[in-house]
Symmetry: C2
Subunit: 196 residues, 2 copies
């Protein structure tokens, strides 16, 4: 008997395989073999392959949402809060790079109700983010000549794209990259400094 849980091993193996081969191209046989368990054991903890994919999302989404709420709860000037939020979501996205890859690539493979649940949770995150931007706009810090949805998409596109180019083995540290991307974003949405 192992101290490590079967469900954990299966999840870990599934993330790896889904990230490298894609969800549809990975059979449950491959997953259970990589995890060192049998199919019967897996289906004891997950009710379907779909459920396994959802469990991966679930863990990541919950963690990111918790971070967001904590940072906002700390309070402070909008600009600093927004900067902290941006840096954090980029950093955690780098920590969960394989999960993110799976997420954006295979979300649409989920069954309809699961997909709605994921969409709902993502929207909750985006809404809190949008509220921060709105506060900054009200204070005259951020430009208002571009629709807010475009500004928000402009940021999350960076987060999304990380899994397409960032390599943890590369030269750049994750914190540095997070700050660089955040800087690019904040620079682009701020009202021109010379006007003040």
């Amino acid at each position: 008997m192992r101290d490590t849980n079967v469900a954990d091993e299966v999840t870990r193996a599934a993330v790896d395989l889904f990230a490298t081969q894609g969800y549809a191209n990975t059979s449950v046989q491959q997953i259970v073999e990589a995890a060192g368990v049998t199919k019967g054991a897996m289906y004891h903890y997950f009710e379907s392959k779909d459920d396994l994919l959802f469990a991966i999302y679930d863990r990541m989404l919950s963690l990111q949402k918790a971070h967001l709420d904590e940072i906002i709860a700390r309070g402070g000037p909008v600009d600093e809060v927004l900067r902290a939020v941006c840096v954090d979501v980029i950093e955690t996205s780098i920590d969960f790079l394989p999960e993110g890859t799976v997420f954006f690539r295979s979300m649409h493979m989920l069954t309809a109700p699961r997909q709605q649940e994921v969409t709902r949770r993502r929207r909750a995150y985006h809404d809190e983010f949008a509220a921060l931007i709105e506060r900054g706009q009200a204070e005259g810090l951020y430009r208002t000549d571009i629709p807010r949805p475009v500004l928000i998409a402009h940021f999350f596109s960076d987060v999304h794209y990380l899994s397409h180019w960032y390599s943890p083995h590369g030269a750049e540290g994750k914190t540095l990259v997070a700050e660089q991307i955040t800087d690019l974003f904040l620079t682009s949405i701020r009202t021109t400094d010379v006007a003040s």
Copy 2:
């Protein structure tokens, strides 16, 4: 006999189905039924399902590369050329929104040699883009405190993300959005104006 080509109908149907259901979840039966042809006819023009997916990529990549080369060939100040390139790639990405969705979501489903071919073509595009940035940096127009790969990823993330939020039925016209995103990007990479 129809005046429209069988291959065209198949390609069109495949793009729609791949974009909505995903590549792996779409059977060739569904494709040929949606296209109004039979499987025998399809396999007369495409040697595999994989080949069909590649054909979709091929058309889009060729078109975008042709646009890029033409804009660069026109010459002019770096800042104007880069602006034109950005606006164009965003506009054509909106024109090919379903293809783009399929592209980014299913690229990894291709067989290894095909995948390498796609990667090679994308890199060619990125390299020309990088050369433009480098020219701008040499002229002191663009900031050099952030690694160039990060700047490039920062732009292509926007292009990539379009299929996740842009709706052609929405209020914003594609040209307007293209200019807004381009403006955000150029603002963020330019050296601060006050310094000049």
